[in-house]
């Protein structure tokens, strides 16, 4: 999925997949921080967002 989106010119970091067990609250927090940082670095989504006109 991510591969084809990247192929189409959408930044890879806009899609994330992860695997967290229900006992891993700290991992959850780490992953949220990581993703949040990456997406902030990318800025707002412009590629696939629908602009109603």
């Amino acid at each position: 999925m991510g591969n084809l989106l990247e192929h189409m010119g959408v930044e890879k970091d806009r899609i994330h997949f992860s695997w967290i067990s229900s006992a891993e609250a700290t991992k959850f927090v780490d992953v949220v921080k990581e993703i949040s940082d990456k997406v902030r670095a990318l800025g707002p989504n412009t590629k696939l967002k629908k602009i109603y006109s």
Binding site: N3, L4, E6, H7, M8, G9, S18, K47, L48, I51
Partner: protein
């Protein structure tokens, strides 16, 4: 390819006369020059309608799902792979299907040929590897090799994978140095360049869904574009909606697409829809070593679990 036509007619006549099949699905010449269209015949007298030439680029696997009775169908290499797909995906029983295999020399890219000649094409004929085009200016001849469709140039399975009858001797398969050169080229581009490329690619799309209707893989009872609650994709020609449609349609073909080129053939706006599916063909080959429709006894990779499946995209 006249020998093919002759042989196909013979086999079809024989099958219908002996009532081994209820109908034969093949091609007949259309009402305008340079067009072959699918036809279903039920009587042996109609067998003379059947033809096979370099214009038969549509995929007849599209017409064999859930058949009433037994059907015979004409299959090029790529079509036969789609028929394997259909059997694997339980769309048709192998027992109800008689496959008349045709070793394929590639199909002609009509729009490319139309660019080459001035004015309207009034007649078309082919002899071996030579194409004869008649226009108002007179008769012109072309080498078929120069006007092959893009997917036929990259085809590595010209001979039918499964067949009950063969309409000719197998042809030699093409040896390609790099079957995914076109995909690699796009992959090497910058993200902005890719974005522009696909923007240009889909900007002419009129959302007629001809690519979907021509594709043998698209057999969902309700397609996601027709669903209205929730509505996954808008019906307008808005750029996002068009991209979403093409992306999702391609993704539904992941690990199943045989690169038959029916989508491109059907497109009235000459959009190279294969730019999307080619990437998925490459990925499924590199990640799972899988080429669609080659083995009737194997389940597709997105259908099965293997501990060795790639999972490095998971954080």
């Amino acid at each position: 390819m006249d020998t093919y036509t002759k042989k196909i007619r013979e086999i079809a006549k024989d099958l219908l006369a002996s009532q081994k099949v209820d109908r034969v699905i093949g091609f007949e010449m259309g009402t305008i020059p340079m067009a072959a269209r699918p036809v279903s015949i039920e009587s042996e007298n109609d067998a003379e309608k059947l033809v096979f030439n370099s214009l038969c680029a549509m995929n007849l696997a599209n017409y064999i799902r859930k058949p009433k009775g037994t059907i015979a169908v004409i299959a090029k290499g790529c079509d036969s792979r789609n028929m394997v797909n259909h059997v694997v995906e339980h769309q048709v029983d192998r027992e109800n299907l008689v496959i008349i295999g045709v070793p394929c020399h590639g199909m002609v890219d009509k729009s490319q040929l139309a660019l080459e000649v001035e004015g309207e094409i009034t007649a078309y004929d082919e002899e071996g590897q030579t194409l004869k085009i008649t226009t108002a200016q007179g008769e012109l001849t072309f080498e078929k090799q120069d006007f092959l469709k893009d997917n036929c140039r990259l085809c590595q399975h010209r001979n039918p994978v499964i067949h009950d009858y063969m309409a000719g001797d197998p042809v030699t398969e093409q040896e390609l140095e790099d079957p995914f050169a076109d995909v690699n080229e796009i992959e090497a581009m910058s993200q902005e360049a890719k974005s522009t490329l696909f923007e240009d690619l889909t900007k002419n799309c009129i959302r007629c869904y001809a690519c979907r209707n021509a594709c043998p893989l698209c057999f969902c009872p309700t397609c996601f574009v027709d669903e209205s609650s929730p509505q996954w994709v808008g019906k307008s020609q808005n750029k996002t909606d068009v991209d979403t449609f093409h992306f999702l349609r391609a993704f539904h073909c992941a690990g199943r697409c045989t690169d038959c080129g029916a989508c491109v053939e059907a497109c009235p706006m000459d959009i190279d829809v294969r730019k999307f599916t080619r990437k998925l063909i490459k990925d499924s080959y590199e990640m799972f070593g899988w080429e669609a429709g080659l083995d009737i006894s194997k389940r597709p990779p997105l259908d099965t679990f293997n501990p060795a499946d790639p999972d490095d995209f998971i954080m």
